[in-house]
């Protein structure tokens, strides 16, 4: 009966209640969306970074080098000769060098030439097939296989650059020999082959260079005396000593640049953080306004319903009971705002995921309640409680006989 009265009272003031819930919903959903996207980005970024201490590549923006080399989202800075890596590979402070060669794509998914340890680094597991052994054999990531519906032993021709519309390398075809299980890392979105495959395709092209002079120019600097260029290399160190000395050595003494993922990503998050903080402040303001609107609604309600309250008190209602009745009204409004807000944020996440997926082959997971969202629930309830408590306490000030006799 108490809850029924609460519900009826809320229903009797549909528009007011709707406004309270709407405000709370938007506040909650914005914050929750930010939390989810932020967490997932950070999660994805740090998962892909793990173990990689340094990236070397052509000179340019270090952030760009990291984004292209580690996350496969930006354009590469340029090429470096494979031979330059020699000194690094023999350096005792270096544990592992993972060379990467990029430049082609298939339907928008990057084809990356690399070595086996790269797969091992991401703990890749095969859903079907085996790893690449020979030239022109590829292993495709889970997302790629799913999106492009690629099957084992299927063949395809790559196109140049990173856009779907790039010029096709029609005469040499790749063959799928393995499909990876999804593991939520960057390789889900990659097509992997050995370095030779990439070199072979582009060497082959140079022979036809006369037909496409622009292509020729582009590839001219890729070719060196040895003919073997790579885009960048991911380096793991044996000890922190490497981190102290090697990056400086490379930046000063070679044509390459060394970038440290940890530093660049921190910089990136700092930049993003400003935007996220601004959004959070906005969302908190919206939540507070919702609280104020709950307060005003309940306060007015108490004034209007003073007679009702006095009546219920005279009929045997306890003040505590009526106090909780008003509190429940406030809590109901903020709680339903919270629930709708979380639902809305999941919907937003889904939309954002679709957009990111279309543009960057990067999707967001629909997650369970995050730890922060539990805090958000507590915050929403606190807003409800604080907004409701002053009007509710008014119950204890009602003078029954005076109120009812007042004509």
């Amino acid at each position: 009966m108490l809850l029924k009265i609460v519900w009826k009272n809320i229903w009797a003031k549909k528009l007011n209640s709707f406004l309270c819930i709407l405000l709370m919903m938007f506040g909650i959903s914005i914050i929750s969306l930010l939390i989810n996207i932020g967490n997932q980005l950070q999660d994805k970024f740090s998962k892909n970074i793990s173990g990689i201490d340094m990236v070397v590549g052509a000179k340019g923006s270090p952030l760009q080098l990291i984004l292209s080399g580690v996350y496969q989202i930006d354009a590469p800075t340029g090429n470096i000769p494979m031979s330059e890596l020699q000194s690094l590979q023999t350096n005792p402070l270096v544990k592992q060098v993972l060379p990467l060669s990029m430049g082609d794509n298939y339907q928008g998914f990057r084809i990356v030439g690399t070595t086996y340890p790269y797969l091992k680094h991401f703990e890749a597991d095969y859903a079907e097939g085996v790893g690449f052994k020979n030239n022109m054999e590829v292993v495709v990531g889970a997302t790629v296989a799913r999106k492009l519906n690629l099957k084992l032993n299927e063949s395809f021709a790559s196109s140049h650059g990173f856009e779907k519309e790039g010029e096709a390398h029609g005469d040499k075809k790749y063959k799928v020999v393995g499909i990876l299980k999804s593991n939520n890392s960057v390789i889900d979105n990659l097509i992997l082959c050995n370095l030779n495959s990439i070199w072979e395709i582009h060497k082959h092209e140079e022979e036809h260079a006369s037909e496409t002079p622009e292509e020729h120019a582009e590839h001219a600097n890729e070719a060196t005396e040895s003919g073997h260029d790579i885009t960048c290399a991911l380096i793991k160190f044996r000890s922190p000593m490497g981190l102290m000395t090697i990056p400086r050595l490379i930046n000063q003494n070679t044509k390459m640049q060394a970038a440290l993922p940890a530093i660049e990503i921190n910089r990136l998050f700092e930049l993003m953080g400003i935007g996220i903080d601004a959004f959070k402040a906005l969302a908190i303001a919206i939540m507070l306004i919702s609280g104020i609107s709950v307060f005003v609604t309940l306060y007015n309600a108490l004034k209007e319903r003073k007679y009702e309250m006095a009546l219920m008190l005279s009929m045997g209602g306890k003040r505590t009971k009526l106090f909780f009745m008003l509190m429940f009204e406030g809590l109901f409004l903020s709680l339903s705002g919270y629930i709708l807000g979380i639902l809305l944020s999941r919907l937003g996440l889904w939309v954002a995921s679709r957009m990111l997926d279309q543009n960057f082959n990067f999707d967001l997971q629909q997650s369970m309640l995050q730890k922060e969202e539990i805090y958000l629930l507590i915050a929403a309830l606190l807003v409800g409680i604080f907004a409701a408590i002053i009007p509710s306490l008014g119950i204890y000030r009602i003078n029954i006989s005076k109120t009812l006799a007042n004509d």
Partner: protein
């Protein structure tokens, strides 16, 4: 059923009322008359246990109410006293039937839907049970208020100017209903009024 003994009440500003002793047995009707300012409503509030007297005794249903705690008073009122206020107060968000059942709920009794339906039929508003209270006419509202006062089968029914806002026809009806219903459940009926139409009807009167 109800006796008072030298009840006095002082307002904080200093005005003090002394009330005559009254007693009212079950199934009896007592009319309390008086002009405005003579403390009629104060007297009713004292009997309804909505105010505590500054001195004097009030026995209802063989219970000396002066000794009850605030919490006991609230329960006692819900169990034993049905009040018909001068103005028809309702919980506006609830419909007629729910307003009746509210009396059961607040009096800590099981919700008695058949009783509500029965009273509605007796008082002639069974077709209004699912309506909103704001949609009712003044006479209809007054009848619902009477039904609500009867929901917990009280020992004493108090009515504060129950007819002042009604026309002659409705006045007659309401007075009939109050008398009939209180006799039916064996309750004492006390009506506070200055309505001369009631004076001729009930002979047991006291003037403040």
């Amino acid at each position: 059923m109800l006796q008072t003994d030298s009840l006095k009440f002082s307002y904080p500003k200093g005005h003090t009322f002394s009330f005559p002793n009254i007693s009212c047995k079950a199934e009896e009707t007592l009319l309390i008359l008086g002009n405005s300012g003579t403390g009629k409503t104060t007297f009713l509030n004292l009997i309804a246990l909505l105010l505590r007297p500054s001195s004097g005794e009030l026995r209802i249903n063989n219970t000396e109410t002066a000794n009850l705690s605030e919490k006991q008073i609230t329960e006692f009122r819900a169990q034993n006293i049905g009040i018909v206020f001068q103005k028809p107060y309702f919980v506006n968000a609830l419909n007629v039937s729910e307003n009746l059942l509210l009396a059961n709920y607040l009096g800590n009794k099981a919700l008695n839907k058949s009783k509500a339906a029965e009273l509605a039929k007796d008082l002639g508003f069974e077709y209004l049970l699912s309506k909103k209270v704001q949609e009712l006419s003044g006479g209809e509202q007054q009848r619902v208020c009477i039904a609500r006062a009867l929901m917990n089968t009280p020992k004493v029914i108090l009515a504060d100017e129950p007819t002042s806002a009604l026309d002659d026809e409705n006045c007659e009806k309401v007075a009939d209903l109050l008398e009939k219903q209180s006799k039916l459940i064996g309750a004492a009926l006390i009506i506070v009024t200055h309505d001369h139409r009631l004076k001729s009807r009930f002979t047991n009167q006291i003037t403040l």
